[in-house]
């Protein structure tokens, strides 16, 4: 391994840590969460994840057919999807702000974002 090799690996490591830290710091301390479902680049729906008893299924239409997302308090997952590889379903439940479930074949992104003007955060 030559010197430029080590430099390159160091740079990649630094970039990986930096990009992780940016996500981590950006969303630190947000306890009030919203799941944003994006299809074909535009917002399909937004779901308040803090709402008690929010367990329900959401049908999301895509080019391949309907994908189904399941919501429970504080988390969301892709329950079923007509895509061939099911990476989106394997991602499992996501519950952290910034986390995403991506289904490239069915053009769906589920993203957890901090709620904008939530009563909870103001009251606290």
């Amino acid at each position: 391994m030559t010197k430029p090799d080590k430099l390159l690996i160091g740079l990649l490591l630094a970039l990986a840590i930096l990009s992780y830290l940016i996500y981590f710091l950006l969303y630190q301390g947000d306890s009030s969460l919203t799941a944003k479902i994006v299809t074909d680049g535009s917002i399909f729906t937004e779901i308040d994840l803090n709402h008690p008893g929010a367990n329900h299924l959401i049908n999301i239409p895509g080019p391949l057919g309907n994908s189904v997302a399941e919501v429970k308090p504080g988390a969301i997952r892709m329950k079923s999807s007509p895509c061939p590889d099911h990476y989106c379903m394997e991602t499992g439940w996501i519950n952290r702000p910034g986390a995403v479930i991506v289904c490239v074949p069915n053009q769906i992104v589920i993203e957890i974002v901090p709620s904008k003007n939530s009563v909870d955060t103001i009251a606290r």
Binding site: K3, L8, S19
Partner: protein, 180 residues
């Protein structure tokens, strides 16, 4: 005019790359992240860059993704576009670094390991960018840290494999016939 020997070698390399491309799809990956894989086919791209030139390597990468997708039944669907953009980006980045190492002579020379790691990282970046374009959303860059991190061990592994391969090719005297 391309010599028959070169043409034959390119054909063998394309065949080899396709087999590796298809073989890789059979290896289960413990991450639910699209695109994290060993990148075995990148060995052939880098081999072509070392033995021949950028144009030849690009041709092989192009043929590999098109024919590999055709054989696995994914031609022109999402998986094809992802591996296509990844393979082309990787080839370009490795070619640039190889060229830099040859033209700048002040100890700025990457070894096969470094080139391979750079190729793996470039492959992942190209793939992420293509995925972001396809879904029209940049949220997929959430996977950037994992993708960058995974390119280090996978790049080193494929680099080591290529180093062994070249060692054996040299020992067997095959390279004397290929290099012109």
């Amino acid at each position: 005019m391309v010599s028959t020997r070169k043409l034959t070698t390119i054909a063998v390399l394309v065949a080899l790359a396709i087999v590796l491309h298809l073989f890789e799809a059979l290896i289960p990956i413990p991450f639910p992240i699209p695109g994290v894989k060993l990148g075995l086919a990148n060995i052939v791209t880098l081999l072509a860059l070392v033995l021949f030139d950028f144009k030849t390597a690009l041709t092989i990468a192009f043929m590999r993704t098109v024919l590999g997708s055709l054989l696995s039944g994914t031609l022109f669907n999402i998986a094809f576009f992802l591996s296509f953009s990844g393979a082309i980006t990787a080839t370009c980045v490795m070619a640039i670094l190889l060229y830099l190492g040859k033209s700048l002579n002040f100890h700025f020379r990457f070894s096969l390991l470094g080139l391979s790691v750079a190729g793996a990282a470039a492959h992942n970046l190209g793939q992420l960018a293509m995925a972001a374009l396809l879904i029209k959303h940049s949220g997929i860059f959430y996977y950037l840290p994992v993708m960058l991190l995974s390119s280090i061990p996978t790049g080193i592994l494929t680099g080591l494999l290529l180093r062994e391969l070249l060692k054996h090719l040299k020992a067997s005297g095959q390279l004397d016939e290929i290099s012109f």
